[in-house]
């Protein structure tokens, strides 16, 4: 039977998860994946990996602090955040996340502190204006043999972050675009893309080491291949009907011009840095890095804001591009602003280039301070 339906009166449901949620999922994925990339260098004692590990650690720490603040901003009752820890509802993935996130942040900050402790201690022994601060930061000693333990715990928490953030969204059956088994893997893979993008940009700004740039680009190419592969699998199982969940997800957005444009844009955001990184791994760090950051961010924006623009019962689409107007845009800019501020603080006040292998780095030479 041929049926044409025209909705004459219908309610518009605004997005309940706001751009701050996108920022949270973007930043926490970058942080967790960057932490995992920092571990081989620091926790498992691979000295040749240290330059890369330092950039990864910087990325993990700065985004790891910013992300929970963005999450808190997305709560409509932020002052009630303590209730997460008093009324934990074990059937809710968000409730588990409430415990995983602070654990992750504490272990990551503890790991970073342990790695910098010898340098803090040494700076506290020098005769300069802020020696007292670094004596306090070192807690009276240079020892950091416990760093691998903290790194291991942070690594486990990072895996917990990647698991809970993916599953929390995946279990929402009411939103077909979210309710796909591949989503947690896609979040993780695009997280690696975003983290490598940030590391490439930081490398261009802080290190300008061509070999490191090429190494990061090679890893980015690999991560982009994984993302492209997951995307291809998603589309294949959706079109073939092998996975009804994926088919429903595709059907929920297929046919809308804006979604075709988003799909084309997303594919380009993967293909362009992939090709650039493959063809010219040196001298393309700025471009590949920035596009990779954009790809990771855009994936989440599309999933969260675009997903909420698909009515559950009504017809058509709600506003999919910037549903919260200027306020939402300011939220995005503000979160990025905080992150940039933390990067400036990290690179200005912390001896980040002196972070080395546990129990060996406190003997490393340091620049003299005479402030």
């Amino acid at each position: 039977m041929d049926v044409q339906v025209h909705e004459l009166v219908g309610a518009v449901h605004e997005a309940a998860w706001l751009p701050w949620a996108v920022q949270y999922f973007f930043l926490i994925a970058i942080s967790a994946t960057a932490l995992l990339m920092a571990l081989p260098g620091f926790a498992f004692g691979r000295e040749e990996a240290l330059p890369r590990a330092r950039l990864a650690l910087m990325t993990a720490v700065t985004t790891g602090i910013t992300a929970p603040i963005a999450l808190l901003a997305d709560l409509h009752q932020p002052a009630r955040f303590w209730e997460f820890f008093v009324y934990t509802h074990t059937s809710s993935w968000m409730a588990w996340g409430a415990w995983i996130v602070p654990s992750y942040v504490v272990f990551t900050l503890g790991f970073a502190w342990a790695l910098h402790r010898p340098a803090f201690f040494a700076m506290g022994q020098e005769n300069w204006r802020f020696a007292w601060l670094f004596r306090w930061l070192s807690l009276g000693g240079p020892s950091n043999g416990f760093a691998p333990l903290l790194g291991g715990l942070a690594g486990v928490a990072a895996l917990g972050i990647l698991t809970y953030t993916g599953v929390e969204v995946m279990v929402v059956r009411a939103r077909p675009l979210w309710n796909t088994p591949l989503l947690p893997l896609q979040f993780a893979a695009t997280g690696f893309v975003g983290a490598l993008g940030v590391m490439l940009v930081l490398e261009r700004m802080l290190s300008r080491d061509g070999a490191l740039e090429a190494a990061l680009n090679r890893r980015l190419v690999f991560a982009l291949c994984v993302v492209a592969g997951l995307g291809a699998i998603w589309l294949t199982v959706a079109k073939s009907g092998l996975s009804p969940a994926h088919s429903q997800a595709l059907a929920s957005v297929a046919g809308f011009t804006i979604w075709k444009e988003i799909a084309f844009w997303g594919a380009a955001a993967i293909a362009v840095p992939l090709l650039l990184g493959l063809i010219a791994p040196r001298h393309t760090g700025w471009a590949t890095g920035l596009i990779a950051i954009h790809a990771a961010w855009m994936f989440r924006w599309t999933v969260f804001m675009g997903g909420q623009a698909v009515p559950k019962v009504g017809s058509g689409l709600y506003d999919a591009l910037l549903p919260t107007g200027v306020a939402g845009l300011m939220g995005v800019i503000g979160t990025f602003g905080l992150w940039v501020f933390l990067l400036v603080v990290y690179t200005t006040f912390l001896p980040w280039t002196e972070a080395g292998l546990p129990e060996r780095s406190h003997c490393a030479p340091r620049p003299a301070r005479s402030v």
Binding site: V9, G10, H76, R80, T257, Y318
Partner: protein, 244 residues
Amino acid sequence: MDTTRRGFLSAIGKVTIGAAASVAGAAGAAEAATAEGHVAHWGMVVDLRKCIGCQACTVACIMENAVPEDAFRTHVSVYELVKDGQDPAMVMLPRLCNHCDDPPCLPVCPVEATFKAENGEVLVDASKCVGCAYCVQACPYDARFINHETQVADKCTFCFHRTQAGLLPACVETCVGGARNFGDLNDPESEVSKMLTENEVSVLRPEMHTNPNVYYIGLDEVLEGRVAGEAAYHPEMADHGEAH
């Protein structure tokens, strides 16, 4: 229990004459429902053949529950259906929280603010809700929203405050055509139970397996799930270039 305003007024007439029974038919039913250990299970049966799309229920709900301007606890979607090129038909579909027996909004709540009340209502403890909106995402009926005045999750309560006082929900009370019927699904003698027995009924989004307690008589199957049709105009959609 008299489940519509017409029935309710009729009950008042009987009471005036007899001067013996409770004025509020709903109160009598509520008392009966709790008698001898019987626990009422509230449900609604919407007879779409009687709905005229006047939105009186929408307005009554807003007035009764102080619903903010930009949201609805219930409203009536209106569709134009054209089948096989025949003359178009105007179809109404009152929407509200389905007070499901297996509500997807409940397990996702991280702080147990959403709960199932004794009589089956799905409610939100506003003093506990952190406003994370996870329940808003999980509801397959788009029946929840964040109230921007209270900053917590908001939804239809089946007018809990009214049913506790033996009154009908405001939307049922005001329904012009008697389309909305409310009562105890656990009582086989209740009007709603009889309507379920005597009519072919359907629920929205049966594929979600939520066991809703809002039933529809005369629901066209094309309206059961997400309605794949041309959307009503709203300004922000103008630029999307829909292909549907």
